[in-house]
Symmetry: C2
Subunit: 308 residues, 2 copies
């Protein structure tokens, strides 16, 4: 799957992932009205509104981007009906040949991690048959529980040729509270990064491992260090746009070959029509605003990489 991601990045010239993190207040009124007219102001209605919103954005952007990253929390908040919309979104994006990164941030111990790995990336056995559960291509994973929490995910990834992005340094303001603490003079995130590189060695594609890392765009200096600590790992970089990261901050997350990083933007793209810059599209043409925002983001990153 890392090869497919790389090929798609090279084809689109856009190391970009669109974060499909639908909040109801991002969704234009006409979509909500239609969904609520059909299903009422119910969880089912919310699920339908989310799905229609996602579908329109995917339809307007899929040819420009290699990957999408649905954030499962935004669906899980609506319970089972929300998760149905998550699954529909995953399946639809795969039918458009997009790489799907499930932003699930799961992580547990032994057999429990194995269950998450099976549910999101692999197949579960039921009697003599086996089935895919949510069937994303990559999943994000939390490393706090250590190697025996990660290894069951690695096993499933090897079997399915799928991948992970392991949280190393997150984009939020208080990420340093634990992640930046010094251990023998070295921050915890660096220790986690070293482990990611080590886990990744077992799971190599051609040049890159299919075990990657999450490092926030909001911490470019740390990105520079972590790029060297994990030379063969792809870095998923959240925090561009709405969270404050800029194209120029991102260059150190990439290797000399122009690969090695994929930058996420969620609100900045899916709710672009709410920004002054794209207001001319109006709520009716929100998906076209998203397309314009993708084009601008790709240009911003290309420019920054050219100027480095």
């Amino acid at each position: 799957m890392i090869q497919k991601l790389i090929e798609k990045i090279q084809k689109t010239h856009a190391p970009i992932v669109v974060g499909l993190d639908p909040m109801l207040n991002y969704i234009p009124e006409h979509i909500k009205e239609k969904a609520f007219a059909e299903y009422g102001e119910t969880l089912e209605g919310a699920g339908e509104a989310i799905w229609q919103y996602n579908k329109a954005i995917v339809d307007a952007t899929w040819d420009l981007i290699p990957a999408v990253k649905p954030q499962i929390a935004m669906y899980e908040q609506f319970g089972l009906e929300g998760l149905k919309a998550f699954k529909k979104t995953v399946d639809y994006c795969k039918s458009k040949d997009l790489v799907v990164i499930g932003d699930v941030k799961r992580g547990d111990i032994g057999s429990t991690s194995a269950a998450y790995a099976v549910g999101h990336l692999g197949k579960v056995q039921v009697g003599s048959k086996s089935y895919y559960g949510f069937d994303e291509d990559f999943a994000t994973v939390n490393p706090y529980l250590g190697s025996d929490g990660i290894k069951p995910f690695l096993e499933v990834c090897k079997e399915e040729k799928k991948g992970l992005f392991i949280l190393v340094k997150t984009s939020n303001p208080s990420s340093g509270e634990f992640q930046d603490q010094l251990i023998d003079g070295k921050p915890l995130y660096e220790l986690v990064g070293e482990k990611v590189a080590q886990w990744g060695e077992e799971c190599m594609g051609e040049k890159y491992s299919y075990i990657g890392a999450v490092v926030g765009a909001t911490y470019p200096e740390m990105g520079k260090v972590l790029r060297k600590v994990m030379p063969k790992s792809f870095i998923l970089v959240p925090g561009y746009g709405a969270q404050g990261g800029k194209g120029a901050d991102l260059v150190h997350f990439f290797n000399e070959d122009g690969l090695g990083a994929i930058v996420n933007s969620s609100r900045g793209i899916i709710a672009a029509y709410k920004q002054e810059k794209y207001a001319k599209f109006g709520p009716e043409n929100f998906a076209q605003a998203s397309r314009a925002a993708v084009e601008d983001m790709a240009a911003d990153i290309a420019q920054a990489l050219q100027n480095r």
Copy 2:
């Protein structure tokens, strides 16, 4: 909710939580056969088998225990059908007046953590209406992302009078890989424990906070230290039984008042009929084996607390 948990512990004399972590290979053949006959060897069939298995165990043990802890990974591995069984289990346990601890180990940043908090503990707004999603009483949470990942959960807990158990020191062998690393001479888990105590101050019940911690039974010495670091936090203690923890290891997790800890056993109770000790019950009476295992576990802990 912490008051309810305490009252139920005092009433049952059993600081015990039954981990409802159904693996298909724990489930007796007669239950699987019936479910597969009705729904086939499908995800739906697996969900039905899990649900019938859980229901029988709950029916056989609910009067002896204060709480249950369904591990969502074991349901999520079966995709949407598994999660339907999770929701049915949560609802059924609540109808039996059990405290339900959703072992979900979620954790993210800002609005994303808020979405998880809403989905598992709170109400989500849909237009003019609001709905509970999964509606557990407590949830387990991963702290790796720091305070701004935890705070949205605290807000929902305050509003709903529900609670958290935050991962501090997990029961697995490699938990020390990151959690035991020394920061200014103090292990990371202790730093996290201090934060739990601090977050808990904002969320006090009468004597105990409704913000608790997870500390593995497999690390009793660390439990002793953490008990003092977080004097007002309940500790959820996994790792008893199958993972190797014994009653005598547990005494330091409790305060002098005999409260402050609740010990989880999963496999040791729900698959008790597979142990030599309870083999006489046979697969047909698996739920009665679970009841006997609960009684033995309660006696083991009571004995250990008496002897301290």
